[in-house]
Symmetry: C2
Subunit: 200 residues, 2 copies
Amino acid sequence: MRSLLKKTLDGRKIILASKSPRRQELLKMLELDFEIRTKETDESYSENLKGAEVARYLAEKKALAFQGELNADDLLITSDTTVCVDDQILNKPENKEEAMKMLKQLSGRKHEVITACALFSKEGLKVFHDSTEVHFRELSLEEIEHYVDGYAPFDKAGAYGIQDFIGAIGVDRIHGSYYTVMGLPLHLLYKELKNLLEKK
Amino acid sequence: MRSLLKKTLDGRKIILASKSPRRQELLKMLELDFEIRTKETDESYSENLKGAEVARYLAEKKALAFQGELNADDLLITSDTTVCVDDQILNKPENKEEAMKMLKQLSGRKHEVITACALFSKEGLKVFHDSTEVHFRELSLEEIEHYVDGYAPFDKAGAYGIQDFIGAIGVDRIHGSYYTVMGLPLHLLYKELKNLLEKK
């Protein structure tokens, strides 16, 4: 089967700058061939930034880390996912206690998940983002502990993956895109790739 | 890792009556061991039934087809997914033309996906359902044809899978559970299994 995007992408090399197997799996849904190239980036940000600004800032920072290293036909995709509750940002938990604390905070209420992407190439830098509201029912302590012990969600902002056990049993509804919560706003990424490449 | 549900499920044999690989994948997220047992069921229903009633009726019908065949410790799970738009139910498309017609009808608007489940065992029959609103942006004819030709969605009510290419590029938001759209309302199924087994 010929890919829809590949027609416009002819000759371009797509590079995904993410170690996340979830993001790699998501990008494959767009029928793209791509390579993975990762770089350690300092993920600190100014406290003046709020919600989407943080995700956008970090996606851009991850892209600019490749400045001077891209070839003329390279098209780099970076992204950052931020979990916000009560105007507070939940980062990746450092240990079991922090993970359990985050899940207790998310239990029985809604929060916001923002994923920003940056596209970096000879056409320049383009940053965009999408936001989804996620609602957890009340989680029991047993469920939270079982999840943290069994799934070790230490690489995940907010200490959970919606595609994991806790997302299956605990998330009763979302408002927005599921893929944005998983780590890539695929509908926007597709649109932006199409726009970028049709303008060539 | 010990399953949370298995503790209460001790000694029960879970049977999923579905050929759908998606449903099998979803049920695994609840950390359950189960076997697949399928039976051809006539999926016709009275025209007097609307939306959720159809899904509930068919889930129950699929369960009752096993009457007299279950052992004392068997717990059967059946389900049915219904796609509704304009008070009309979209079934599985019979051919390319019908699939394309359905996707054109869903393009640029919202519709409702209802999945009903039945649990059938010595405790009796329990039917429940969940409903999710799905919104497609405007799809191009090229996108629709590419999807139908490449993914052959003839086993899918409404002619699409949200976990496929067309769901990735075309669904910009849902309101409800993603897993309900995929084919099992996992949060409800978990709750009902827990309730049923704790009452033992």
